[in-house]
């Protein structure tokens, strides 16, 4: 018989949930985590990790195609789609196994089933309908943290609804049965662009449609423009200020009406369509309404420590709103559980310090305010830029395209934002995130020694450039 009393029950075992559970256990709590599907959640099984495995295949493909640039000869590289997908699934399952081990190591009870909440004290009661036998069991904890995540948004009113066969969400796009010849990607956020980049590299004819006037709309405008240019050069078709309506799935193809803003709609035919038009929180079926949890559209409202306002009930991660990123969820989870434990008072969640990464080719990474947002917020700014072409390491890598951009407050020297596009920038951005977290000024960054030869030198140069002191340009 499993224990039914815990200090902490976490609902959902994604990167928010399982990290929260581990931190709770480290703080001496008796913890259970409820998961209705795979341990590790979307991130490990259907998100961050398997897509990175796919994109790695695309990157190797890219290098093989350009082997001659490096003085190498490769016989015409071919895609074995089944093997690419198999590798990606293998990576996901290895890591999911890793999380299972972590749960065991930290003595966390894993309850496999679907959870719902009922009124209780000191925290809501957790009823788990077990996957195994469909039977309900009731659990009581002192604290309950919701980490149920989010899923792809569908817009049935506009005829945008996945069918799982021809019209995909990220989930189907990750395990393609065939290599689509013509692919339509609706939405140009990180998810849309990563799949567009992947399928384009492996030979599909990819069209990306975006409603606003630029791709990667959350990024700095300059970065969006550079990304668009780079993708177009690789053969990606990009239609901005355009919308897609009325997807009509036929036998083996989908008809889509694409309408440019203020123009006339035209119908095109595609083999497959990927819907990447946003995220909705998994708020349903948990019994939240009856408990009086405040929900804003599909997201649970919380304060900087994840408190929902209902005694003993907290929420973290995608469920609480954007940015919809695994590391945001993990961080919020740690804050929340430390807050419960009385350990953290100093650091409520700060969305502006969450780095955002897009693992396309080229990569995009950023933290803080864009130039436009910084101006909008009333800052007098100084901007530094440094191009990849001025950096020795990037030339040696054969990756001379890209830019690092920094935005500082002119008066205080605060690093308001940093934006990067190019090779490996997702590995670099954390340097600027540390700078923001530690509240370093341009001066501290200028006095920091960056190793040579590395791509990181560009981060130094972009800071120096904001002062008009860049050395290598």
């Amino acid at each position: 018989m499993t224990d039914t009393n815990f200090d902490l029950i976490v609902i959902g075992s994604g990167p928010g949930g399982y990290v929260t559970a581990i931190r709770g256990s480290q703080l001496g709590m008796k913890v259970a985590v409820v998961e209705r599907a795979e341990i590790g959640g979307v991130c490990l099984n259907w998100g961050c990790i398997p897509t990175k495995a796919l994109l790695r295949s695309a990157e190797v493909m890219h290098l093989m195609k350009h082997a001659t640039d490096f003085g190498l000869k490769a016989v015409k590289p071919e895609v074995d789609l089944e093997a690419v997908v198999k590798r990606s699934r293998g990576v996901a399952s290895q890591l999911s196994g890793g999380v299972k081990f972590l749960m065991k190591k930290n003595k966390i009870t894993v309850l496999e089933g679907e959870a719902r909440l009922e009124k209780g004290s000191p925290a809501p009661k957790v009823i788990v309908k077990a996957n195994k036998d469909g039977k309900d069991a009731s659990y009581q904890a002192k604290h309950v943290i919701l980490a149920t995540g989010a899923r792809a948004r569908a817009i049935p009113q506009a005829g945008l609804e996945p069918d799982g066969k021809l019209i995909w969400t990220y989930k189907e796009a990750m395990v393609p049965d065939v290599m689509p010849k013509k692919l339509l990607v609706i939405g140009s956020g990180a998810i849309g662009i990563e799949f567009a980049s992947f399928y384009n590299e492996l030979g599909a004819d990819v069209t990306v449609v975006e409603a606003v006037d630029r791709i990667l709309p959350a990024e700095d405008e300059e970065i969006s423009a550079m990304a668009e240019k780079a993708f177009k050069k690789q053969g990606l078709k990009i239609l901005t200020k355009a919308s897609v309506k009325d997807l009509k799935a036929g036998k083996n193809s989908v008809k889509a009406t694409i309408t440019p803003e203020g123009g006339k709609g035209e119908t095109h035919e595609f083999d497959r369509v990927i819907l990447a038009v946003g995220i909705v929180g998994n708020v349903e079926g948990l019994g939240l309404e009856a408990l009086g949890v405040e929900i804003d559209r599909t997201h649970v409202k919380v304060d900087g420590f994840g408190r929902t306002g209902v005694a003993g009930l907290y929420a973290i991660g995608d469920l609480t709103g954007g940015p919809w990123l695994a590391h945001k969820a993990s961080h919020e989870g740690v804050l929340c559980v430390e807050g419960i434990h009385g350990k953290n008072e100093a650091h409520p969640f700060d969305a502006w310090n969450v780095p955002g990464c897009t693992y396309a080719h080229p990569q995009v990474a950023s933290v803080g305010l864009t130039e436009a947002k910084a101006k909008e917020a009333g800052h007098k700014i100084k901007v530094g830029r440094f191009p990849f072409v001025g950096n020795g390491k990037s030339i040696a890598l054969g990756a001379g395209e890209g830019m690092v951009k920094t935005i500082f407050d002119k008066e205080t020297g605060e690093l308001l934002g940093a934006h990067m596009i190019g090779a490996e920038v997702t590995e670099l951005i954390q340097g600027y995130v540390i700078a923001r977290q530690a509240e370093l000024t341009e001066e501290d960054l200028m006095h920091t020694i960056f190793p040579h030869p590395t791509l990181s030198e560009m981060m130094h140069e972009a800071v120096l450039d904001a002062e008009g002191r860049a050395l290598h340009i």
Partner: protein, 448 residues
């Protein structure tokens, strides 16, 4: 080069201080970190450390001299090899350097240590630091932890970082803290104060001079005890508060029996050495009530109302010659044992006047308890910039009418909450008292 040792500003509100005691004499060798003097500041006695090493060439201010202005030269240090005896008092020490048997001339022109506001980024980072040769860091023994950005903003706005409480990790002062601070936190320029024959008039001109007329009381008929720093500050601040803050009192009676029983139970169950007092429980209850009614955890400022994130409870402690309010910081996050231990330590050091400025500043709510003197109820004067102060009377057995109209005996205690009406309305204050009443009358709620 001889080094001038100057009167340090030991707290941001300090404008002058009393040189209580020299711990060195002329000719003594000192090295960095040695204690050289005791200075009585506006609220406490603090020790001053030497920053440089050398030989004390001259002590320019006599022990016991009052009203030595901040930054006035108090001693001269000769470096190795210098002839100490040949040194003359530096000209700049001027008037204040004179050993003053009578009250020293106030130095009106003493510049407040002004942060450099250089545009050059290389300099700006170090700007808030006091000049290198100052004989003491702003707060001996307490390095100010602040982020580079916080330092820069403080320099730009003219904020003294030593006056702030950091909200970052380990009390590090971060951007948010300086952004919420007012430039006035910097040491203000002094206004004139005329030396008077009897008593000292307002040090800042805010209060009308309070002098005794010889025709009313013959000077021979009383003994005049000079004001010390604590008295002076208490007099000024409370007068300001009473005159400037529109305040109103709210009184409520609380039944204390359950709290007393809970205390008995807790102390019986506690580890040896832990003894929770009723006051400790009231501190906790106040803090939790402030969290429940965050509108009441507020300070009035001309820029807006500052709603505090944490409940920092100032607890009035009577000390020899005045009153001081050490602060139990983040009391809402602390357990009773922790509050009790902290309070014991703070109160003991308060009585010895050994509190550091950061230990008696930064409260968001005050608690004053005269119950032990049998006072049944009273109203306190608000301790600005805090928005409320609660006065706690004695718990006494009283006949009360029970739920079914029967007479019973209960221990009843009366508390009076004085509120700053600019920040807190009657209804808000009343709601706060309701929350407080609940914690006192159902002390289990404090465990939630």
């Amino acid at each position: 080069m001889p080094i001038n040792i100057t009167m340090p500003a030991l707290s941001p509100t300090m404008e002058e201080g009393t040189l209580a005691k020299w711990l060195v004499k002329e000719g003594d060798e000192v090295s960095s970190g040695d204690l050289i003097a005791e200075i009585e500041t506006d609220k406490a006695t603090m020790e001053v450390e030497a920053v440089d090493e050398g030989v004390i060439a001259k002590l320019l201010v006599e022990e016991g001299t009052e009203g030595v202005a901040v930054n006035a030269v108090i001693a001269v240090l000769a470096e190795d090899g210098e002839d100490a005896s040949a040194l003359e008092a530096p000209a700049s020490a001027g008037e204040t350097a004179k050993p003053a048997a009578a009250a020293p001339e106030p130095t009106l022109e003493t510049p407040a240590p002004k942060p450099e506001t250089s545009a050059s980024p290389a300099k700006a980072g170090a700007a808030p630091e006091t000049p290198q040769k100052l004989a003491s860091t702003p707060m001996p023994g307490a390095r100010i932890k602040a982020s580079p950005l916080a330092k820069r903003i403080a320099a730009l706005k003219g904020i003294d970082l030593s006056a702030l409480t950091g909200s970052g990790p380990h009390g590090r002062i971060v951007k948010k803290d300086v952004e919420n601070a007012k430039p006035g936190t910097a040491v203000a320029t002094r206004t004139a104060a005329s030396p008077s024959k009897v008593g000292t008039a307002s040090p800042d001109g805010l209060i009308l001079p309070q002098l005794l007329d010889d025709r009313v009381y013959d000077p021979e008929s009383y003994e005049l005890v000079p004001l010390d720093g604590v008295r002076r500050v208490v007099a000024r601040r409370l007068t300001e508060s009473f005159m400037q803050v529109p305040h109103f009192p709210l009184t409520v009676d609380l039944r204390l029996d359950k709290l007393l029983a809970a205390r008995k139970g807790i102390n019986a169950a506690a580890r040896e050495g832990i003894k929770i007092s009723v006051n400790d429980m009231l501190i906790k209850a106040s803090a939790l009530s402030l969290m429940d009614e965050p509108d009441c955890n507020a300070s009035y400022t001309d820029d807006g109302i500052a709603y505090h994130n944490g409940a920092h409870i100032s607890v009035a402690v009577a000390i020899d010659g005045g009153l001081i309010t050490p602060v139990v910081r983040n009391a809402h996050l602390k357990g009773l044992a922790e509050i009790s231990a902290e309070m014991k330590d703070l109160a003991a050091r308060a009585r010895e006047r050994k509190l550091k400025p950061q230990e008696y500043m930064g409260g968001t709510f005050s608690l004053s308890n005269l119950g032990m003197f049998g006072i049944s109820n009273f109203g306190s004067i608000i301790n600005p910039p805090e928005g409320m102060i609660m006065s706690v009377g004695a718990g006494a057995k009283q006949p009360v009418v029970g739920e079914n109209d029967q007479l019973e005996v209960a221990t009843v205690m009366s508390v009076t909450l004085t509120c700053d009406h600019r920040v807190i309305g009657g209804a808000e204050g009343a709601k706060w008292l309701q929350a407080f009443k609940r914690y006192v009358e159902q002390p289990e709620a404090m465990l939630l």
